[in-house]
Symmetry: C2
Subunit: 155 residues, 2 copies
């Protein structure tokens, strides 16, 4: 039997959140959400914009930013910065946190999870009487391909 580890985000989830907060379920919000969950992770506002433009030819980039901010406040998305000057957005499918391996040569971003590390983080926090709300662990370096062949995938 096949099991989906990550439950897909229901289309109804956005509407639920929106009506619960007495906001308006606009065409743009629906379209942005649909595109957002259909795209790869770690996309930029620009990338989402270009994709949404195919369906909503009159949409403004500011609407993309506003709406992504809304998704973040709703807990449907998370914003991240990997230091290249672009904020990247991640749909939140479940409560599983994930960390990143970032290849500085080809740009590949691989996700990983490690409960052992998370536990040690909690230990550190406890020692400082600090309460962790969220965290960010990013390992920068060379992925297998770039390390082996030296050349990289992006030239």
């Amino acid at each position: 039997m096949r099991i989906n580890m990550r439950a897909p985000v229901q289309p109804t989830l956005l509407k639920t959140q929106i009506t619960r907060n007495h906001l308006r379920f606009t065409r743009q919000r629906q379209e942005i959400f649909k595109v957002f969950v259909g795209m790869a992770r770690h996309v930029t506002a620009e990338e989402i914009y270009r994709e949404v433009l195919k369906k909503e030819s009159r949409i403004g980039l500011s609407t993309i930013y506003r709406t992504l901010g809304l998704f973040c406040r709703f807990g449907l998305a998370e914003a991240r910065q990997f230091g290249d000057g672009h904020t990247r957005y991640d749909p939140v499918y479940d409560k599983h946190h994930h960390d990143h391996l970032i290849c500085t040569q080809c740009g590949e971003i691989t996700e990983f999870e490690n409960q052992h590390i998370e536990r040690l983080q909690e230990q550190v926090a406890r020692r400082h009487r600090f309460v962790i709300r969220r965290h960010k662990l990013e390992l920068y370096g060379l992925c297998a391909d770039c390390h082996d062949h030296g050349s990289g995938k992006r030239g």
Copy 2:
């Protein structure tokens, strides 16, 4: 520009690095370095600028940015982004890597080190055939004060 790396931060170090690289030991670079190493860690370019202005009343903000970039290339400073839109600079006193606890209420930044976590990171990387060059671990949440009193220090 060729740059020779690696050495501990001493008062003479800036001059050593500068002459070694055939650059010019200007009044501004001396003053910025002096202020920089005398300030708290994780300072912004603006904060350094305001401090340097007290001694160098005609200095430009662009010189601060340029010079901080130089320090980073020399290995005398490191640039970090904690997601508040400001690049923060850290003098590099030794080769000890440190991670951060960042209070989202009062902004306090506490440093920590944990060799156990570092070893687990290496383990994860090995599993992905990834070679780590550098890493970033940031725990966001509430510091002891903000957690206890609720109000925070800046609020």
